[in-house]
């Protein structure tokens, strides 16, 4: 019997070994696969167990966290949600994250390993750091001015600081309250369904994610290309251009909205926005030089991040002469985001240099210690400095005596360009009203702000939709807000 008891004991020992080996399999070998299973809610629970870091505008958080006491404990809240939605995006327990909430998620949620006091410390202790904060470059006064300027009209505003590339305002209307999507309950699901079904697409960030035909505002690029290429040497010399202008190789005749464009000088044509002159100027400059300048301004670059991705602004490089004529006045396949057009204005204002736009001034730990700062950004030359000087002149003329007088500010030098872009089948759509501009206070060493405004809303009277009438006052409000901020926006 003893022998058999021993054997039965051995059998029990085998059972024990099987349990131990299997436990090691589940807890160590297969652990990663189980941890990564999307149905495993532990990641989400850990993620929402602590308040999320905040996004700051001018030192004040525009986000917050609410303790719901639920399983996924903390929910995102927003102060002035619709105002800052194009900057923050949303952070939803159900639908993920977008915009800054998305690109800075690791830091905000505390998962970023740089927040750990020691390398691998968190892996060992299984602790999670408090979420870090993201300090933005946004100027709240400019942001609010742009938002209130658009009011209920569909459109977007982007403003940057020309000397640095800091984004001062990023507004898209209609907007939405991202706080509605924060939770995981019925409210969030209903809001999600409603926002996605809305034909006005309130969750679309028009300032960076949508491209528009830039219309006449693109003449800034065409003029710069012509000046750089030496096609124009004297701004006041007649350009020998007909009105109407027959598009090369076609029988189509291009006309103007304003009179006095026949044989006008570049200065006059820019001030009064003559399509004929700039279509011819673009054709005279040629595809190669037009393309080079457009690229230098940032067109056709699909990899711009601020840090979230900016839609690619396009200038078609495979055009015939007729298409080039239209492309040169911001029609045909030429498309630009409002942010891109703000960069165009900024390049003129800062002596021809283009700075990559950015939205995050710095990131900090929960305690305030810096994690990273924006640092110096790469810059490139969009045009010759002397060209930039002459472009400044042209843009000032537009505001002082041309189509953009609505943007003039007392006590400041303002340059601008209007645009009214046709679109839709047979140009039947309500035109987009554009205004791009920059402003420099009389006591400032350099331009403080460059701004692009686009208004796409259908107005009762079609004639009221125009760059100078609709968009310029909004641009002026934004520029005034920046200039009136004590010595510009707060610097960090």
């Amino acid at each position: 019997m003893t022998r058999h008891i021993r054997r039965a004991g051995l059998f029990c020992a085998l059972l024990l070994v099987a349990l131990l080996v299997n436990a090691a399999r589940v807890q160590v070998l297969r652990a990663d696969a189980y941890d990564d299973n999307p149905a495993n809610r532990r990641d989400a629970i850990t993620r929402y167990q602590q308040p999320r870091g905040d996004i700051l505008v001018a030192g004040r958080p525009v986000t917050g966290s609410r303790d719901t006491g639920e399983h996924l404990r903390y929910e995102r809240t927003y102060t002035d949600g619709p105002l800052y939605a194009p900057v923050t995006g949303f952070a939803s327990q159900e639908y993920g994250t977008t915009l800054l909430e998305h690109t800075e998620d690791e830091l905000l949620s505390g998962a970023d390993p740089v927040l750990a006091p020691l390398p691998l410390w968190n892996d060992f202790t299984r602790s999670r750091n408090a979420g870090g904060d993201v300090v933005t470059t946004i100027d709240p006064a400019a942001q609010r001015a742009a938002y209130e300027g658009l009011r209920s009209r569909k459109g977007a505003v982007a403003a940057v600081e020309p000397s640095t590339g800091r984004i001062l305002a990023l507004v898209s209307v209609p907007s939405y309250d991202p706080g509605l999507l924060s939770g995981n309950g019925r409210t969030a699901r209903d809001a999600w369904a409603r926002l996605n079904a809305d034909p006005d697409r309130p969750m679309l960030n028009r300032a960076v994610q949508r491209t528009y035909p830039p219309g006449s505002t693109f003449k800034v690029v065409t003029a710069a290309a012509a000046l750089d290429a030496g096609v124009v040497t004297d701004l006041d010399k007649p350009t020998d251009s007909p009105d109407p202008y027959p598009l090369p190789g076609t029988t189509t005749r291009l006309t103007n909205g304003s009179r006095g464009c026949e044989d006008a000088s570049v200065r006059e044509a820019f001030t009064w926005s003559c399509n004929t002159v700039f279509a011819k100027l673009g054709v005279d400059t040629g595809v190669a030089d037009m393309t080079a300048t457009a690229h230098a301004f940032g067109f056709n670059d699909g990899d711009v991040r601020v840090p979230f991705r900016v839609a690619r602004s396009t200038f078609d490089t495979t055009v015939d002469r007729a298409q080039l004529a239209l492309a040169s006045i911001g029609q045909y396949n030429t498309r630009a985001t409002p942010l891109q057009m703000a960069m165009v204005a900024a390049a003129v204002a800062s002596g021809g240099q283009v700075r990559e736009p950015y939205l995050v001034e710095r990131t900090t730990r929960a305690g305030g210690g810096a994690v990273s700062t924006a640092g110096s950004r790469p810059m490139r030359r969009a045009m010759h400095p002397s060209t930039a000087l002459r472009m400044r002149e042209l843009m000032r003329d537009v505001v002082e005596k041309g189509t953009g007088t609505n943007a003039a500010i007392r006590g400041a030098v303002v340059g601008g360009k209007t645009g009214t872009a046709q679109h839709g089948l047979g140009n039947s759509g309500t035109p987009y009203a554009w205004f791009v501009s920059w402003a420099q206070g009389h006591e400032d060493m350099e331009a403080k702000v460059a701004v692009a405004v686009v208004v796409e809303d259908a107005a009762a009277n079609r004639r009221e939709i125009s760059g100078g009438g609709t968009a310029a006052p909004i641009a002026r409000a934004v520029m005034e807000a920046v200039l009136n901020s004590q010595d510009g926006p707060a610097t960090w």
């Binding site: 019997m1 003893t2 022998r3 058999h4 008891i5 021993r6 054997r7 039965a8 004991g9 059998f11 029990c12 020992a13 059972l15 024990l16 099987a18 349990l19 131990l20 299997n22 436990a23 090691a24 589940v26 807890q27 160590v28 297969r30 652990a31 990663d32 696969a33 189980y34 941890d35 299973n37 999307p38 149905a39 495993n40 809610r41 532990r42 629970i45 299984r126």
Partner: protein
């Protein structure tokens, strides 16, 4: 040897032969350690959850300590030669179980289970003391062979009259308490098997047909075995309790093998078991579903129905990793229903890690090993079979439920001995430990110069 042991030894009249050390001092030290570990776990939960030691810590420690101490005194008085590891292991596992249940109570504030479990633990320890004090010689139990089996069958069949709970008819509800009579039946059946086999092992060993090398038993002795098998399958079909039937049958096969030393029994046992399993797996949708879940634990996720309990259990174990999240910091509550009972081990796995889980398995292993050791040391066949049977009962039960929640074998509802919520189970397990204490005391006493009565 401890000081206490020396004192006791010198207090006894001088013995003619060399005395085995009684090791009661070691037992006391280990009990103190077990109580301290439990209190530490209790405090760790509070510190992790609220940043403060829970207010009941002192009371909990004192309660557990007094219970363990009284049990120890009973052993010292009436079973002074008993194995010194059995009682501390019981105390530690019971204490740890209370900590885990208390920890899960924090997640389900509406349904606290720890206080009830503490009451049942007290009852269990009381029964332990009663058994140790009253049952002075295990051979007395042999007289009650058929009373045992009759009582066991009644206990097994009573729940059939009560409504099914969660797919299984294994509970009866009396005055707000739910009792699982099958738990008590386990001990009675172990007594019956041990007594029956001790009495009939001669017949079972030598009456057989021989087909080549395989010895097969004759029909006359096969009868009772088939009867037991039928009861097991009956339990399975009528009560839908796969685990219990597996346990009974496994216990019987092990004891049959130990009693007769015939490999043929194992072959017959395995054959019958697999026949029964296949038949029931085909016919019973409840059992069939369990097997499907075991084969494809994530099928419900792929079907878009969310993770099932086994998947959640695996997630919990995986989260634990090597060292665990720490007591109070896991999310095993996601398992939902039965997280404090059948799935209690997942909480241990998640919060104590592979290290803690292995330690728990080894504690059970040690408990089983001490039982087998007593079986080896005893001289009388009944005692040997009873010790082996009770130890195997623990081993099989741990394997069935721990293997089930870790995905090693199909999941069957069963309580993890001492750890899981469930009054009947705790009381039964304390009885098993009490019997093992009595058996080990007899084993060591008989080697101690004929002190056994």
């Amino acid at each position: 040897m401890s000081k206490a042991g020396i004192t006791l030894a010198t207090a006894d009249p001088p013995a003619p032969t060399v005395r085995l050390p009684r090791r009661r001092g070691i037992e006391l030290t280990l009990i103190v350690l077990a109580v301290l570990l439990s209190v530490y776990g209790y405090c760790a939960v509070g510190l992790a959850r609220n940043g403060s030691v829970p207010p009941g810590a002192a009371g909990y420690g004192a309660g557990l300590g007094v219970l363990a101490l009284v049990a120890h005194l009973a052993v010292r008085w009436r079973a002074s030669h008993a194995d010194p590891l059995l009682l501390p292991i019981g105390v530690l596992l019971n204490g740890l179980g209370l900590v885990l249940i208390y920890r899960l109570d924090l997640e389900t504030p509406g349904a606290p289970a720890a206080p009830t479990q503490l009451v049942w633990s007290t009852l269990g320890v009381a029964l332990f003391i009663v058994v140790v004090l009253v049952l002075r010689d295990h051979r007395v139990l042999q007289r009650y062979t058929y009373v045992s089996v009759a009582a066991a069958l009644i206990l097994l069949t009573v729940p059939i009259l009560f409504p099914a709970v969660n797919g299984a008819r294994i509970w009866i509800r009396v005055a707000g308490f739910s009792i699982q009579p099958g738990e008590f039946a386990k001990v009675l059946l172990a007594v019956f098997f041990a007594a029956y086999l001790a009495a009939n092992r001669g017949a079972l060993t030598y009456a057989d047909h021989r087909i080549r090398w395989l010895h097969l038993p004759t029909g006359r002795v096969l009868g009772p075995i088939v009867a037991v098998w039928l009861v097991s399958v009956g339990v399975l079909v009528l009560e839908r309790d796969l685990g219990t039937s597996l346990l009974f049958f496994g216990l019987f096969v092990v004891l049959l093998y130990v009693a007769t030393g015939r490999t043929g029994w194992i072959a017959v046992g395995l054959l019958l078991a697999s026949l029964g399993a296949v038949a029931v797996g085909r016919l019973e949708p409840h059992v069939h579903g369990r097997i499907e879940t075991w084969l494809h634990p994530f099928a419900s996720i792929e079907a878009g129905e969310g993770p099932n309990q086994l998947a959640q259990s695996l997630f919990a174990f995986a989260e634990g990793g090597m060292l665990g999240t720490g007591l109070g910091l896991g999310h095993s509550v996601l398992i939902g229903f039965a997280v404090k009972s059948d799935f209690i081990l997942a909480t241990a796995g998640e919060e104590l890690g592979l290290a803690g889980l292995s330690a728990i398995f080894l504690l059970y292993g040690l408990l089983v090993e001490r039982g087998y050791r007593a079986g080896l040391a005893l001289r009388d066949p009944f005692g040997r079979l009873l010790a082996v049977g009770l130890a195997s009962l623990v081993a099989l039960q741990v394997f069935v439920i721990a293997g089930g929640v870790t995905g090693l074998i199909p999941l069957t509802g069963m309580a993890m001995p001492f750890l899981a919520q469930g009054g009947s189970s705790v009381v039964t397990n304390w009885t098993i430990v009490a019997l093992l204490v009595r058996l080990s005391d007899s084993a060591r006493r008989q080697g101690d110069g004929g002190a056994a009565r």
